[in-house]
Amino acid sequence: MTIQFLLIQVFNGLVNGAFYALLSLGLAVIFGMLRIVNFAHGALYMLGAFTAFALGQLLHLGFWPSLIIAPVIVGVVGMLIERGLLKRLYGLDASYNLLLTFGLTLLTQDLVKQVMLSKFAVSSAPYTPPDSLSGVVNLGFTMFPKYRLFVIGLALVICLITWFVIEKTRVGAIIRASTENPGVTRAFGIDVSKWVTGVFGVGVGLAGLAGVMAAPIYSVDPYMGAELIITTFAVVVIGGLGSIMGSIITGFAVGVLAAIGAALYPPIANTLVFILMAIVLLVRPSGLFGLPEGTR
C-alpha cells in the first residue's frame, strides 16, 4: 500500500465522514436538549435533498440559494413535528419518540416517492453542482472532484460554528442551562419550550443541509437516508451522545477508517462500522466521548 493510495482513501473517507459528522452532530444537539433520538433524521436529510431538487424544478433555483433555503424549510418542518407531535410524548419514556419518528420515516419516504413519481415522473433524480464547483482539482497525488473538496470544507466549517455557538456563546449557555436544569432556567424568565422547538429545528436543519450537500454526489432518492441513518446510529454509539465535539470528531474519523478498511479488504466495507461499534461497546459501553450516566 503506497502513501498515495492511503491519501486518496483519507480524502474519500473525509467526504463520507462529513455526512456522518453533520448528521450525528444534529442528533447530538437534539439529544442534548430533548433527550430523544430522532429516527427521522435520515428521512429529513433526504427531504433536504428533495427540497433542493424540487426548488430547482419548480422555481428554477440553483444550488446556492437552495443550499440556504432547503435547510430552512426542513428546519421548519422539524419544528412543526416537534410542536405538533413530539410534544405530546414528553412525559413518557423516550422510546415512544423513537417509535414515532420511525413511523414518520416510513411515511415521509413513501410520500416523497409518490410526489416524485406523480409530479416529476421519476423515482430518483440527479442534481448537478454549480459550474464553479464542477471538474477536478489536481491534489498532487490524485485528481479529485472540486465539489467533494467543497463538501469536506463546508462540513468542517458548519460543525465548528455549531460547536462554537453551543460551547462558547450566551445562546449556547442558555441551551446548556435549559438542558441541565429547565426549572431554574425558567425562573430566569426564559421560555424553555420555545428553545426546545428552536433547537430541534436547528438540529434537523443540519440534516437538511447535509441532504442538499449530498444531492450532487448521490442522486436524490426517497430512500437515500434509510441506510445512512442506521450507520449514523452506529457512529453515534461509537462516539457517545455526550459531547458536540465528540460527535464531530467521531463522524470524520469513522468515515476515514471505514474508507481505508474498505479499500484494504472490500468485503468488509459495509460491516466495518458495526464491527468498530462492537469493539467500542466492549471496551467503553458509553462510547468514546459519552458520559456513563448519559446512557439513559
Partner: protein, 318 residues
C-alpha cells in the same frame, strides 16, 4: 418503560379476564384456517409468536430492540438451509431456533449494558450488520435469490405439502412458545424483570444484578423469535433477505404496539391485524410505507394501550 396497563397483575378479576382471552383467542386460532387462506393463517401464527417474543423484552424488560429481525432471520436461514440439505422438519426447526438463541448471546452481552435509546440503536446496528452478512454469504443464504424449493418431508404421518396440516403443526409449536413466554413472565424471574424495568436502582440495591436478568430475557426472547422465524420458513417454503431487513424489525414493533404491549395476547392480535391488513394493501397500489407509517404514528400518539390493552381497560372500568 412504564406501561400504560399491566394486565398481568395478580387480582382474581385479572385472572378471569386472562382465562377469557386465552379461551377466546385459542378458539379463534383453532378455526382460523377455515376463515382465511391457510398460508395467511400461518403468517398470523409466526408473526404472532415473533411479536410475543419481542414484547417479552420490550414490555416486560423495558428494552426496545430494533434488531429482532436478526434472530427471526438467522433461524429462518438455518432452517431453510437444513431442509435443503435433507434434514427432517423437526431437526431443521430446532436447529434454527437454537441458532437464534446462540446468536443472541454475544449481541445481548454487548447491548444490555446500555439502556433506553442506546439499547435500541445498538440492536438496530447489529441487525443491519447481520443483513449485510446475509447478502454477502451467498453459499449459505443464496444471496438475493434466497432459499426455496427445499423439501418438507412428511413427519410421523403428517403430510406437510398440505397447508392446513402445516398450520396445525405450527399451532402446536406456537402453543409451546407462547407457554414458555407466559411462564417466563409469571415466574419469580418475570417479577424481578418487571422490578428491574420499573426501578433499576432499587432492584440493584436489594441484591439483583439487573444486567443478568436483562441478558436472560434477551436470550429467551431471541430464541422464541427464532422459533417464529423457523415457523415462517416452514410455512412458506421460502427464505429471502427480507427476513433480516430492518423493516422486519420495525414491523414486529408495530404489531406489538398495535395489539397492546404487556398484555401477552395483544401482540398476537396485533400480528393478526397487520398480516390481514398487509394482505389487503398488496391488492391495491398504495405504497406500504404510507399505511405502515401512518398506523405507527397514530398508535404511538393516540392508542398506546393497543387493541387488547384498550379492551381490557374498558372491561376493568365496568
Amino acid at each position: 418503560m412504564t406501561a400504560p396497563t399491566d394486565a398481568l397483575s395478580q387480582s382474581r378479576a385479572a385472572r378471569h379476564n386472562r382465562a377469557a382471552w386465552l379461551v377466546g383467542l385459542g378458539l379463534l386460532l383453532l378455526i382460523l384456517p377455515r376463515l382465511i387462506y391457510p398460508v395467511l393463517a400461518l403468517d398470523v401464527l409466526a408473526w404472532g409468536l415473533f411479536a410475543v417474543a419481542f414484547d417479552l423484552l420490550f414490555g416486560f424488560a423495558g428494552l426496545l430492540s430494533f434488531g429482532h429481525a436478526a434472530f427471526w432471520g438467522t433461524s429462518a436461514y438455518v432452517t431453510g438451509y437444513l431442509l435443503g440439505h435433507g434434514q427432517s422438519v423437526p431437526v431443521a426447526m430446532l436447529a434454527g431456533t437454537l441458532s437464534a438463541g446462540l446468536l443472541a448471546v454475544p449481541i445481548a452481552f454487548l447491548s444490555v449494558r446500555s439502556a433506553g435509546i442506546y439499547f435500541s440503536m445498538i440492536t438496530l446496528a447489529f441487525g443491519q450488520m447481520l443483513s449485510f452478512l446475509a447478502l454477502q454469504w451467498t453459499d449459505f443464504t443464496g444471496g438475493e435469490n434466497g432459499l426455496q424449493g427445499f423439501a418438507r418431508p412428511n413427519f410421523m404421518g403428517l403430510d406437510f405439502s398440505n397447508a392446513t396440516v402445516r398450520y396445525y403443526f405450527c399451532l402446536a409449536l406456537f402453543g409451546v412458545g407462547f407457554y414458555i413466554a407466559y411462564r417466563a413472565i409469571r415466574s419469580p424471574f418475570g417479577e424481578t424483570l418487571k422490578a428491574v424495568r420499573d426501578n433499576e436502582q432499587r432492584a440493584q440495591s436489594i441484591g439483583y444484578n439487573p444486567n443478568r436478568f436483562k441478558f436472560t430475557a434477551f436470550v429467551i426472547s431471541a430464541t422464541l423469535a427464532g422459533l417464529a422465524g423457523s415457523m415462517n420458513v416452514f410455512g412458506h417454503g421460502v427464505v429471502s433477505l427480507d427476513a433480516v431487513n430492518w423493516k422486519t424489525s420495525g414491523e414486529v414493533v408495530m404489531m406489538t404496539l398495535l395489539g397492546g404491549t404487556t398484555t401477552l395476547f395483544g401482540p398476537v392480535v396485533g400480528a393478526g391485524i397487520v398480516s390481514l391488513l398487509q394482505d389487503r394493501v398488496t391488492s391495491s397500489n398504495l405504497p406500504t410505507g404510507i399505511v405502515t407509517g401512518l398506523v405507527f404514528v397514530l398508535v404511538v400518539l393516540f392508542f398506546r394501550r393497543g387493541v387488547v390493552g384498550t379492551l381490557q381497560h374498558w372491561m376493568r372500568r365496568k
